[in-house]
Amino acid sequence: MSNDSNQNAGETGEILLEMRDVRIEGWSDEKWNPIIKGVDLTLRRGEILGLIGESGAGKSTLGLAGMGFTQPGCRITGGSIVFDGVDLVTATETEKRALWGSRVTYVAQSAAASFNPAHRLIDQTVEATVSHGIQSESLAKDDARILYASLSLPDPETIGERYPHQVSGGQLQRVMTAMAMSSRPDLIVFDEPTTALDVTTQVEVLLSMRKIVEEFNTAAIYITHDLAVVAQMADTIKVLRYGQEVEEAPAREMLESPKEDYTKSLWSVRALHKETQPSDDIVLSIDGVDAAYGRGLKVLHNVNIQVPRGRTVSIVGESGSGKSTTARVITGLLPPMSGQVTFNGEALPPELKGRSKDQLRRIQMIYQMADTAMNPRQTVGEIIGRPLEFYHGLSGKAKEQRVLELLEMIELDESFYDRLPSEMSGGQKQRICIARALAAEPEVIICDEVTSALDQIVQEGILKLLMKLQEKHGITYLFITHDIATVEAISDEIVVMYMGEVVEQGSKDQILTAPFPEYTELLLSSVPEMDPDWLTKLAEKRGQEA
């Protein structure tokens, strides 16, 4: 999809899918609530349309509706969805089944969950093609092996004989693309296909998906919340919010001059930037730490990290690089095999049990999933009140007063005092978790992927709050994340980890400017940029190097 060729397709191609004033409702809280409130969508043959929006915008629901599919508990209440002359709203189940898996196919977000654990990959790849009678099983399997090869899967001849649990997430996602391509459909719906992948894996998957869609001139709806990713894939981008269209424009135009403020806010975290301030006052020091789970393999090898007081140190790396394990060693949840953690010049006892209440108080933690980090049956007052009681012995009026102060610090009003976690949004819940950490009056807060589960605008709010608190109270953050944009936005220092080792540590400016060590280079260059040609350039560059 070089953008020039597809702009032509976008204007002149024959219309493949036409959605007019589509309305969809979902059943929740004992009533039907609108999810999609009258959206139009036109897709021509060979065109790629990016659907972008935050969680709850209705982009997946709309994408699936483009196939005539509604998830259980949803219903289409109005409008028309015409796919190549067939109205999918009025079509029978049998008519739609004849299209699904043959002319329209689907690539889901979680490849691991979307493959049946009981069957071999190649059987699942060709299942639809064979059951629709498009090709015989042996021909379809031959073709699948060719698709595997063109998607750059390792061992394309034999990888199909494996079971889903035997290959990695990135590979599974490519096998799923092969599965979607097996019947040579007219339309593929990609539903957040790279969201669950590491950035370095994401690049490879994006490249192979783009290549194959281009090769067969297949039309596609590409659903994502990441504007930089969609910019690499789509000819046209449609922004959705609250089930309505915000704006639609060719990809290039959208990135250069978005019309709506809301569209701009979709990359708000990228606009945040913190000036680096050096400091020599080390509050927390991790020296020569090796660690393993149980008697298993070592996951940390000689990790050394210095955390200066009142600053933000980010630990970045892919999943499995040992970021969270490092946090567990610092908090005492996982005693190291060797090495030690020094806090304020004193060695911390390796195990949680050995630490004094005061040592525990000074290091607090905030987690990725605010949902699971709070007791769903406790009110905000109880959740924040607990550390006040435990560490500071507060009770009664004094405790209540302090909780209200803390609520003010995290920019929530008094009405939250009696709320349950289920009565708050994701961002509000994460704020409560921050308040709970603050209640202990810690010196260091470890933030483990605290913004990964949140939308961009909400992320921005949380990050701004964290920075404000740092300025005011001099709190030190150890920020664990895989998102480079977040790192850019908040850190003073950066630690790059890979396979349980520290690859590099230094000030942000030092780490983020060339020259880079090999792995840092790979990691940084894999982060999608707001440039529609970024992926193409990257592929060329890497192609040349290889």
């Binding site: 196939m67 599919f69 998830q71 259980p72 739609k96 089944r97 004849a98 299209l99 699904w100 898996g101 043959s102 196919t105 689907y106 889901a108 979680s110 969950a113 979307s114 493959f115 049946n116 654990p117 009981a118 069957h119 299942e127 639809a128 059951s131 629709h132 494996r162 079971y163 649990h165 035997q166």
Partner: protein, 327 residues
């Protein structure tokens, strides 16, 4: 593959250990029964000397641990000792080896269990799968209500109702008195056991059918099921090919549980239909304090339980591709 064999061997070893503990429990439970075995067997008229002699002869005067070791050691070689019954205070000894006493009833019980299983298990699977396929339909509701009703009645009630209908209206005059005749063929025996088998089927189908339905429906919300639908697969194929292969473990557990019940829990049905089966032997021997028979039956029943659960575990393991095809 080696991983699987290792796991299965581990489970087998665990089964043997379980059996050992069960034997301990059986033995000590019987030690705690009140009263003197000698007196109970010989009757109140027996003199103290005869009771003492009797106890000595049976080894009841030995310490408990010694008797336990003797019993377990012999049982391990298939020798369950000699029955207490058949002895009289007059000194005449018509007692028989336990194995001889229980082998024929046990065969009858296993025959009835096998015959019931052949009908009930496929029937339960069929009903469960179709109920899951047409879930929340009239069909589903009728099947659910019907099986729930049949499991809610006590089995003797189901048995008598069946007897009433079959004998009065269908002229089916099956009874199991001739089951031990030497010239009865398998078909004859099966005919004799039709009613008890139907009773047991009605009792066990509900549990297995409901588990099959629940296990399948539980999986229908999985992303891979949605993916199968989006590949245009028919509902039946989605259930048979995509849901069922991942649902075997819980279904097998419930089937094993019910099959075990067919062997060890059928005494009521055996009594009603006058089938000379293992359950009846055990109840009779408890009444007459025939300790070797009680112990033997308990141990055999325990083994059946352990074996069937082991089989369910193994099915759970071999249908799990993560274990069958390790990374």
């Amino acid at each position: 593959m080696n991983l699987i064999i290792m796991t299965i061997l581990k489970r087998l070893a665990l089964g043997v250990v379980t059996l050992f503990f069960v034997s301990l429990i059986i033995f000590s439970a019987i030690q705690f029964l009140p009263g003197d075995f000698g007196e109970a067997v010989l009757g109140q008229a027996a003199t103290e000397e005869t009771v003492a002699a009797f106890r000595r002869e049976l080894g009841l005067d030995e310490p408990a641990w010694r008797r336990y070791l003797d019993w377990v050691g012999a049982a391990a070689t298939g020798d369950f000792g000699t029955s207490f019954s058949g002895r009289a205070s007059s000194g005449v000894d018509r007692s028989r080896p336990v194995v001889e006493m229980i082998s024929s009833p046990l065969k009858n019980t296993l025959f009835l269990a096998g015959m019931t299983a052949i009908v009930a298990v496929p029937l339960a699977l069929f009903l469960g799968i179709t109920a899951a396929l047409w879930r929340n339909s009239i069909y589903d509701r009728v099947i659910n209500a019907a099986t729930l009703t049949s499991i809610s009645f006590p089995e003797f009630f189901v048995a008598y109702v069946l007897m009433l209908f079959s004998t009065l209206w269908w002229g089916l005059s099956a009874n199991a008195t001739g089951i031990n005749d030497a010239d009865a063929s398998i078909l004859d025996k099966a005919y004799m056991l039709i009613l008890p088998s139907m009773t047991l089927t009605l009792v066990i189908v509900a549990h297995m059918m409901r588990m099959t339905r629940a296990a399948i429906i539980n999986l229908l919300a999985s992303p891979y099921i949605e993916m199968a639908r989006l590949k245009g697969q028919s509902s039946l194929r989605v259930i048979l090919r995509h849901a069922l292969p991942n649902a075997w473990a819980p279904i097998a557990t419930v089937i094993a549980f019910n099959l075990a019940y067919l062997v060890v829990g059928v005494v009521v049905v055996e009594v009603i239909f006058a089938i000379p089966g293992a359950g009846k032997v055990m109840v009779d021997s408890v009444a007459s304090r025939d300790i070797p028979v009680v112990q033997a039956c308990a141990l055999i029943f325990a083994s059946v339980y352990i074996l069937l659960n082991l089989a369910a575990d193994i099915i759970g393991i071999v249908t799990n591709p993560r274990l069958l095809h390790p990374k």
